[in-house]
Symmetry: C2
Subunit: 209 residues, 2 copies
């Protein structure tokens, strides 16, 4: 099947949303925890978190226009802190439920059955039930002019995970932590490792390691 | 295990790279196809492609600083076109091999055993062996000041995929297309659907659909 530009513009809204949400491939599954200046916690599922760099350690995520998704954005701008909490198999339904449109004075932690947890250095709530949790400080934002979305970049200042998921090399086995993955708007998947491959060099076939 | 800021800075480079590359969760697996103004094709694996929007249809990807990853970037800026090709189970080794540092005059298509394919409206090579292929026109770039990486946004102008992977709702079943997913720097995984969940509403438990 081939779809070209003029046909794309003719699709009805939900069809178009379903279609384009699958084209980037599988998406990371994370909960973003924030708190307002008034102390109200907020939790929201995001499938747009990506690795930005290791030195300094940076992560990024894309947010919908501020007019739509205001709680997470305003909390990050208000406090400069947010947490990224990987979603695993046992909490994916609660995580999905955070996408419901709750009123501003309702915390998604309470409404969805997840537990806020704080540390000394990060002024934003972690998700106690998550296994791999990252605390970040807001650094940069970039508005995508074409649609008003905002790419947020934060610096990692704290990382919390179970001892058994990290190898001596620093590789974190997120499959062992049962981290799941998203496709489209609403599909959740577990993973099964095919292989790890050696560092690629010209003229050498990649080897399984 | 808890790692805080001062310890992060003490890690050696490879350990740090391994660690931070896993923290965003699983990553999409795509090949970016481009061509130089002189007609030389280029192919590179990226794990940073994300969905940016459905209306207009947009996708984004993060590139390493221009000084490092110059072929893909310069080709996109030179021609304004690029393709995104999902990586499936049967081509993941060839896809991984594109990350080797080939000379500018070597096409990764030839070196890695993949086939360039062109359409009338996209002036960049698709990967024939890929099942889900997207043609894009360059729209915006944003430099992440903290580390010099560049977030590129393109508009989707063509989509090519097998008829059997799309549902009437527009949902594209990328698991059926055997699209794979990446963790860390070098780990490749297949997926198994756990569930699709209904649109979340306050006060209602999400249902499997």
């Amino acid at each position: 099947m081939k779809i070209v530009n003029e046909n794309i513009l003719a699709f009805e809204k939900l069809y178009r949303t379903n279609l384009f949400n699958s084209l980037s491939g599988f998406k990371s599954a994370n909960l973003i925890g924030t708190i307002s200046k008034e102390g109200k916690t907020n939790l929201a599922i995001f499938s747009s978190v990506i690795h930005v760099g290791a030195n300094p350690p940076l992560m990024g995520l894309l947010m919908r226009p501020v007019s739509v998704e205001r709680h997470t954005y305003h909390n990050i701008k208000g406090t400069c802190f947010f947490t990224i909490n990987q979603i695993h198999k046992d909490i994916f339904k609660q995580a999905h439920q955070t996408s419901a449109r709750y009123d501003k004075d309702v915390s998604e932690f309470d409404a969805c059955g997840l537990t806020p947890e704080f540390t000394e250095i990060v002024k934003a709530p972690y998700v106690k039930e998550s296994k791999i949790k990252i605390g970040l400080k807001f650094l940069e934002e970039h508005e995508i002019k074409s649609n008003g979305t905002i790419f947020i970049v934060g610096e990692i200042i704290e990382v919390i995970f179970p001892d058994e998921v990290i190898a001596k090399t620093g590789y974190v086995d997120i499959e062992k932590a049962e981290t799941i993955v998203i496709s489209g708007l609403d599909s959740y998947h577990e993973t099964k490792r095919i292989a790890r491959l050696s560092y690629a060099k010209p003229g050498l076939e990649p080897k399984e390691i």
